[in-house]
Amino acid sequence: MTVFIIRRLMQSVVVVLLMSFLVFGGVNLVGDPVEMMVSDEADQEERERVIRSMGLDKPWYAQYGYFVINALEGDLGKSFVYGEPALQIIVHHIPATFELALTALVMAIVIGIPLGVYAGLKNETKAAKVIMAGSILGFSLPTFWVGLMFIMVFAVMLGWLPSTGRGETVPFLGMQVSFFTMDGLRHLLLPALNLALFKISLVIRLSRAGTREAVHQDYIKFARAKGLSTRRVIFVHLMKNILIPVVTVLGLEFGALIAFSVVTETVFAWPGMGKLIIDSIQNLDRPVIVAYLMIIVIIFVIINLVVDVLYSILDPRVRLQDVKG
C-alpha cells in the first residue's frame, strides 16, 4: 500500500512539473515573456524591473528555476485587470465553482439513479425506451447550447428563474455559499441542471446496466423467493449492489464537472473559476491564465490521487497489478 501511494505521489509530482514546463514554455519561449508578464501600459522602469526579477538575462533553465521558485512561494504575478495577486483571485473564485459542481453531482444521483433503475426493471416498456432515448440525447446535446435554451425558455419566455449571476450568499465555514437563501437557490438551479445533464445521462446508463445485470443474480431471486416485498428487494437488495459502481464513476467524474463548469459558468455568467479563465483569456490577463492553469492541474492531480488511492483500497487488484508492472 505504501509503495503504491509513493508511486502515485511521484507520478503526480511529475505531472505538475510537466505542466509547469508547458506553461512556462508557452509563456516564455513561444512569445515575448516581457510582453506576457507586463501590461501594455507599463513604463520602461517597470519593464526593466520585471526583466531583472525574472532573470531574463540568464539561460532558460535558470529562468525556469525562477519561475518554479516564485510559484512555490505562491507568487504567480499580479493580475493586470484586478491589480491583485493572481493566485488570490483564483482562490476567491473556487467556492462558487465547487458549489456548482457539487449541486450538479447531487442532481445527477437524485435524478439519474431512479430513472436508470426504472429503465432497467421495466426494460420493455415505452417509458423505459423514452428514458434511454433521452439519455442518448443528453450525451449528444452540446452543454452550452442547452444552457442557452434553458435561459431562453425559463428566463426569457416564462420568466420563472433568473438567467445570470449568483444569488444572495451567506458565509458558511469561511466560504460564501448560496444553499441557504431562496434567491441563491433560484440562481443555482438552472446552471446546476445544465451542468448535471451529461452526468444524469451517464448515471441513467450505468444504473440501468447495473440493474439489468443484478435482477438475474441469485441473491435477488432468493430475496424474491423469500417473499420479500418488491419494494424491499429493489430498495435494499438491488440498490446496495448497483450503487457501488455508480458512486465510483461519479467520484471520477467530479473533476470533469469542474472542467465543464467553464462552459456553464460562461453561459450563466456564474462568477466561478471557469468564467474567470475565459474572461482572462479574452482580456489577455496573462498572470491569471498562468495561475489558473497551475491551480487546475493541481486540483486534478489531487482528485486523481484521491480516487486512485480509494480505488486501491476498494479493489486490491489495482494496486497489486501496479506494483508488479
Binding site: 507520478q11 505531472v15 508547458l22 506553461v23 508557452g26 509563456v27 513561444v30 442518448i136 440525447l137 450525451f139 449528444s140 446535446l141 452540446p142 452543454t143 452550452f144 447550447w145 442557452l148 435554451m149 435561459i151 431562453m152 426569457v156 419566455m157 438567467s163 473533476g255 470533469a256 472542467a259 465543464f260 467553464v262 462552459v263 460562461t266 453561459v267 479563465i277 475565459i278 483569456i281 479574452q282 491564465i289 489558473y292 492553469l293 487546475i296 492541474v297 486534478f300 486523481n304 508492472g325
Partner: protein, 309 residues
C-alpha cells in the same frame, strides 16, 4: 468467434462475388437492418453533402458584403428581404441569411472535426500499435502517458493548449488532436494486444518479415473495426468540442464562422427574444452529432463479433 473480426473486414472483396454471402455484404445487411441506423446514415449523407457543396447550394453567399444588407438584420424566420427573397430561418444581426450561414458553418465545423479526427487517428493508431507490438518498456511508457492524459477531461486539455497557443484554425486542430490521440491509442493497443498473440502474427514473424510490414500490413487491418467505431464517435466529440471552444471565444477566429460561433453571435440577441439566431445553428449541430453517434453505435454493434448472434 476467433476469426470474427477478420470476417467483417475486407471491403475490397465485395464486388468479386455476386451471389456468395461475403463479409462486406453481411456487414451491409446487418447495418441497414435497423431503420434508425438507415435513417441516420441518410441524414448524415445529406449533412456531408451540404458541407461539401455549401457554396453551390446556399441561397445566398452570407459573407459577400455586396449582397448582405444590415437593413435585413434580425428578421424572424419566414420574413422577406428588401428585394423580395424569403429568409426561411430568419437572419442574424448583420442581415445574413441564416440558412446560408448554417451551410457555411457546417462546412467549417465538419472540416475541423474530421481533419482533427483523422490526424489524431493516425497518430493514436501508430502509437497504440507500437505499444502493443513492442511491449515492455515502450508499452509501459506510452500507456502511462495515455493514462495521465485521459485523467484530464478533453475539454480541459484543449482549453489549456488554446490558452497558451491562441486562436486559429491550425491551433484548434492541434489542440483537438492532442486532446484526442490518447483515446485512439488506447483502443488500438487493446485490440492489437489480442491480435498479436494469434497465429498469423507468429507466422509473419517466422517468415522474418520486417516490423513495419507486420505492424501495418498484418496487425493494423485486423485492428480496424474498433478503430472505425472510436473514430466516428470521437469525430462527433471533436465537432462538439470545437463548437464549445468557439462559443467560449477561445477556438476559431471570427473569420471562420463555424456553428459554434453562429450560436455565440445569437447569444447577444437572445435576451430580447430573438431565439432563432442561436436556436437553428444549435439544432444543426445537434442533428450532426446525434446522427454520427447513431451511426457509430450501430457500427459498434455490427463490427463487434461478441454481440453477433
Amino acid at each position: 468467434m476467433s476469426n470474427g473480426i477478420e470476417q467483417t473486414l475486407p471491403a475490397e472483396e465485395a464486388p468479386t462475388a455476386a451471389k456468395i454471402d461475403t463479409p462486406f455484404r453481411r456487414f451491409l445487411s446487418d447495418f441497414f437492418d435497423s431503420p434508425v441506423a438507415t435513417g441516420a446514415t441518410i441524414v448524415l449523407g445529406c449533412i456531408i453533402f451540404i458541407a461539401l457543396f455549401a457554396p453551390l447550394i446556399s441561397p445566398t453567399d452570407p459573407y459577400d458584403l455586396a449582397t448582405v444588407s444590415v437593413l435585413d438584420g434580425k428578421l424572424p424566420p419566414g420574413a422577406e428581404s428588401m428585394d423580395g427573397m424569403t429568409f426561411w430561418l430568419g437572419t442574424d444581426g448583420a442581415g445574413r441569411d441564416l440558412v446560408s450561414a448554417m451551410f457555411y458553418g457546417l462546412r467549417i465545423s465538419l472540416g475541423v472535426g474530421v481533419m482533427s479526427g483523422i490526424i489524431a487517428m493516425c497518430i493514436g493508431a501508430t502509437v497504440g500499435l507500437a505499444a502493443a507490438y513492442f511491449g515492455g518498456r515502450t508499452d509501459n511508457l506510452i500507456m502511462r502517458l495515455v493514462d495521465i492524459q485521459l485523467s484530464f477531461p478533453s475539454i480541459l486539455v484543449a482549453l489549456i493548449l488554446l490558452a497558451v497557443l491562441g486562436k486559429g484554425v491550425d491551433k484548434i486542430v492541434i489542440a483537438l488532436v492532442i486532446a484526442q490521440w490518447a483515446y485512439y491509442a488506447r483502443t488500438v493497443r487493446g485490440s492489437a494486444l489480442v491480435e498479436r498473440s494469434k497465429e498469423y502474427i507468429e507466422a509473419a514473424t517466422c517468415l522474418a518479415l520486417g516490423h513495419k510490414r507486420i505492424v501495418f500490413r498484418h496487425l493494423l487491418p485486423n485492428c480496424l473495426p474498433p478503430l472505425i467505431v472510436v473514430g466516428t464517435i470521437q469525430t462527433a466529440h471533436a465537432i462538439s468540442l470545437e463548437a464549445t471552444l468557439s462559443f467560449l471565444g477561445v477556438g476559431l477566429p471570427v473569420s471562420e464562422p463555424s456553428l459554434g460561433l453562429l450560436i455565440a453571435n445569437g447569444f447577444d440577441y437572445m435576451l430580447s427574444g430573438r431565439y432563432w439566431i442561436s436556436f437553428f445553428p444549435g439544432i444543426a449541430l445537434l442533428i450532426t452529432i446525434v446522427t454520427i453517434n447513431l451511426v457509430g453505435d450501430k457500427l459498434r454493434d455490427v463490427l463487434n463479433p461478441r454481440l453477433q448472434r
